[in-house]
Symmetry: C2
Subunit: 158 residues, 2 copies
Amino acid sequence: MLGQDYAHQTCSLARSLEVVGERWTMLILRDVLVGRRRFDELVASLGVTRTVLTQRLRLLVAEGVLERRAYQQRPERFEYHLTAKGRELTPIVAQLMWWGDRHYPEPAGPPRLLVHDGCGGPVRAAYRCGACHAELHPDQVATRPGPGAPAADADRPD
Amino acid sequence: MLGQDYAHQTCSLARSLEVVGERWTMLILRDVLVGRRRFDELVASLGVTRTVLTQRLRLLVAEGVLERRAYQQRPERFEYHLTAKGRELTPIVAQLMWWGDRHYPEPAGPPRLLVHDGCGGPVRAAYRCGACHAELHPDQVATRPGPGAPAADADRPD
DNA sequence: ATCGGTGAGTCGCTTCACGCAACTCACTGG
DNA sequence: CCAGTGAGTTGCGTGAAGCGACTCACCGAT
C-alpha cells in the first residue's frame, strides 16, 4: 500500500491487511467467489483499472490466495480460482456484505446472496467459542494479550 | 478513498468498504476494541499520521461506527468507543487476525487473543446456516443472485 | 507570572499509488 | 488479410498518504 508498510506492528491483523487490505482486493475476491474469474470480466464488473487489477492478481497469486489456471491453450487464456487459503477469507466477505445490507440497504434488496449449498438457507457469520462451543454475541468477546505481546501491552487486560 | 468511489457497484460489499475499507481503518477499530481509545494512544500504537487518524475517526464517528465521548472537562479530552454497529464488525477483525496468525505466524505467538468473556475460551468466526442452523465449512457456501441483482447477473448461478 | 508538558488536532511540502486512456502482442475466425 | 478478443503494459496527471513542525487550550510546578 502507500509508503511504509505496517511492518513495525507486531500484529496478526496488519499482516493480513498487507495481503488483502488494499483497495479493490476484497471486491476482486468476492467476484472470483461468485464466478467472475477472467481478467476482462473483472475489469468490466468492478470498474477497476487494468493496471491495478494486474498488480492485485499478481500479489494474490504470489501469496497463495488465488490460483492462476489456463482454461485453454493456443491462445493461452487464464482463470483465477480461490485456493483453500483464499476460501478462508470468505466469512469476512460474507460478514461485510451482511453489514452493508443491514446498514446501507439497496432499495431493491441485496444484489447477491450467500446460501448454504444444498439446504439453500441464508448464510451468516458468527462467533463461536472454541472451548464451550457456544455461539457468542459480539458483546461477549473480550481481548487479552497473547504470548507474543509486546511488554507495554502485557498489563492491559481490556 | 482514491478518486471515484465504488458507487456504480450495486454491491453491499462495496458500500461497507466505503466506510471501513480504507487503509488504517481496520487497525483503528482493532485498537479501540482492545482498549486504546485516545488520539495520541492510537498515533503511538499504530504509527498512523495524525492527519489520517483525524480523517478516519471523523468518518467512523459520522457513520456511527465509533462514538466520541469526553472523559473529562477542562481541559476537554475525548475517547472513542465502538457503537453496536461497530461491534458488528468485530467478527471481521477476529477472522482477519486468525487468518494472519495461521498463515503468517509470529515466532513469539499471536500478540493478542480474543476470548469468550467469562468462559475464557478462544474465539473463532464461523459460518452458520440461518435455515438449518448447521455450522458450515467455507466449501459449503454458494452464491446466488439476490432480489436486487442487475439483469446481467440473473443467469449466473455460480 | 512564567515555564514546561499534554492531549488533540492543523498546516505545508513531497512522494507514491491510483485513475484514465491508449498501445502491445499473440492468436483466431471469417 | 483484416477485425476481434483476451490479457495485459505504458505514460501522463491527480490526489491521498507520509513526514515533521506548528497551534491552541489547559494544567501543575517553580
